[in-house]
Amino acid sequence: MRLSHVTKRFGANVAVNDVSLDFAPGEIVGLVCENGAGKTTLMAIAAGELAADEGSIEDRVPVAVVHQHFLLVSEFTIAENLALAMWGRDAGEIIRESGIELRDVRRRVADLSVGEKAKLELIKAIARRPRMLILDEPTSVLAPTEARELFDVMRRLAATGTTVIFISHKIPEVLEVATRIVVMRRGRIVVDGGTMSATELAEKMVERRSDSPVRPLVNTPRHVDSRPGSAGRTGESDLRLSDLRLSGLRVPLHPGEIVAIIGVAGNGQSELAASLRDSLRGRVAHIPEDRARDGLVAEMTIAENIALAERRWRPRAAEQRAAALIERFNIRAQSPLQRAGSLSGGNQQKVILARELERQPEIIIAAEPTRGLDIEATSFVHDELRDAAARGAAILLITSDLDEAFALGDAIHVIYRGTLSPRLTPDEAAVQAPGLMAGIA
């Protein structure tokens, strides 16, 4: 299949800019790019879901896409989900043909582990017998061992002549499995083929914004600096997790300390955060995982959202305070009276942070605080969390981003299927985490 000079615009935004790509059967193309670089649009065009404004596509083949967010009906069984995609074929036979293991098709999808759900999505796509398979960030919800299994499947498919396109921002993985590397940035192809080191790839993927060197996003553990300010503080805030789904493990949390809870998404993190939100009272700040749904009231202004935590409502004073916070947190907004829903994701997160940190909380529970944010916003959030810790707050960081956890965490727990591992030092975690995340003790 060949894409020639494909361009696609959405209003003033050029999502895909003059892209030409030649795909050959049997290759595994690693498409490396950040969120927002245009990969979703490009793949939608390749799959025939979207029409390009300019350019052409020749030699079209059947394409199947495995999306980042599952399109599975939780209440239906595996068999019903397969039937929905492909009526008339026996579920067991579909699974056998795909070569992927998934037992007992009468189980409800809601009862499956995240890895099994990912497998089901893959099986659905393969069942359509495509000549091209596009996988959009498939490893974001897989444990390291499951990712390896996926790579085997990809290799097997490629061997039968299918073109596999593997989209990911995790460079080491792409390097491991891809036969050809393509880098996309801001709608353009900046690299196609050739050999490059991980660092060089990382630099190509991201535009340099400041003098600081771009760190390659590799899953090697970091050594954490000793935290200033925490030495000598006594007293601890214990979080006793007594929710039914979580083991009654005590998580000691000291002021000035950042404890990271890592795990593949979907292993109980959301339930943990919600249960903490409902049970902890006092000067506790909560940063929700789903920014769009739970973070801000989109219909209300920035000032109103920030004032939600206050005791009194004084419109003018709230407006002034919001203006000051916009200044301090460098939030890109026209005015404090702007609707919160019209801000970009990064700026919304800043508003949430501003609201929560303004209360001088003693404990901060931050769930996936940098999800979907660009590099600048991410480092901003990290700096704010570090500063809050330095000021004496105790921070519980729930994240599926291992780099973030190792960069910030003084101690690490791994969460798997609703249970927490015992407390680990970063060094211990570096060794044990991959296994713990996959459920192998």
Partner: protein, 319 residues
């Protein structure tokens, strides 16, 4: 934003009346529109009637507006109205103030049954409030056919209430109370922290929860205030207009409140104008029945039209 809302409201009201007039023409009643207008605002007498009808509509409209703004589906205005009327009747023996207070409390309590069921048993309030309407109607029926029936025992109605609202001719002090309630509701929703939290819960319950709002407490408070408003409507209607209880004392005011609130775009101050419109519609419809024999249920029909036109143009979530 404000101008657009006003435009939608005017458009909705206009469309409803136009559609009514049109259907009148279709059914051979070309004079429908003119009777509606003359019967509602065409004379001092008509205007008086309109104002009197606007009062309960204003309050039930406030009831719905507050509830919907808080994200609570209170369709129980009819039953809360009746609870308020019964409460006012019982409290009247202690004076007018006591009667009014009793109507507020009765309405709030009746509504709180629904919020309690929602919190304890997860029963959806949209259904429980409607069911409570039916129960209230039958409770009233029992009362006026039984323990509260007038001494002479002739009709299913109560004796005259022991208290009443000060009045000048037909117009009673309830008008002032209703307008004051509208202003108070506006203040509550837009100038207090409680109102901010209520509105936030209505827009996005989940986000409000994460921001630290106790959404369950908000639900209970919103329901109680909403019920109190509807109850007050019933109390004022009793003390100012009907002076006794009888089976059809609520006359659809509760459900009409939904139309009033939506036309006012859920804005408390807007319900003042909106209730006047529907008061005119109801009074005019009464005149229609008297002079042209057209069922006064055209008013109900008109309410439905307004609701439908309004939500099509508003097109977003109700709160």
């Amino acid at each position: 934003m404000r101008a657009r809302q006003l435009l939608i409201a005017v458009l909705a009201a206009f469309s409803a009346v136009a559609l009514l007039a049109l259907s009148g023409l279709v059914f051979g009643h070309g004079e429908l529109l003119s009777i509606l207008i003359s019967g509602s605002v065409g004379s001092t007498f008509a205007l008086e009637g309109t104002l009197l009808k606007s009062v309960p509509l204003l309050l039930t409209g406030l009831s719905v507006a507050i509830a919907f703004r808080a994200g609570v589906w209170n369709i129980g205005g009819e039953g809360q109205f009746l609870a308020g009327a019964m409460g006012a009747f019982l409290g009247a023996r202690y004076g007018m103030i006591a009667a009014l207070a009793a109507s507020l409390i009765a309405g709030a309590l009746w509504a709180s049954i629904a919020s309690a069921l929602r919190l304890w048993r997860n029963a959806p309030e949209v259904l429980t409030t409607i069911l409570l309407n039916f129960i209230a109607i039958h409770l009233l029926g029992y009362a006026v056919n039984g323990p509260l029936q007038e001494a002479s025992g002739k009709y299913p109605q109560s004796d005259l209430a022991s208290a009443s609202l000060p009045a000048s001719g037909e117009l009673h002090a309830g008008i002032a109370i209703a307008v004051a309630a509208a202003i108070a509701a506006w203040f509550l929703l837009y100038r207090t922290a409680e109102g901010l939290r209520l509105r936030a819960s209505g827009f996005n319950r989940s986000a409000a929860k994460w921001a630290g709002v106790n959404v369950n407490a908000q639900l209970v408070r919103a329901m109680a205030i909403s019920g109190a408003m509807a109850g007050l409507a019933g109390g004022i209607e009793l003390l100012g207009v009907t002076h006794r209880l009888f089976e059809r004392v609520a006359a659809g005011y509760g459900y009409a409140g939904i139309a009033v609130a939506l036309l006012a775009q859920l804005h408390p101050l807007g319900t003042i104008a909106s209730s006047f419109f529907f008061g005119a519609l109801t009074t005019g419809a009464g005149e229609l029945q008297r002079t042209a024999g057209i069922s006064s249920t055209v008013a109900t029909f008109g309410q439905a039209l307004v609701i439908l036109v309004t939500i099509v143009f508003t097109r977003r979530k109700i709160a």
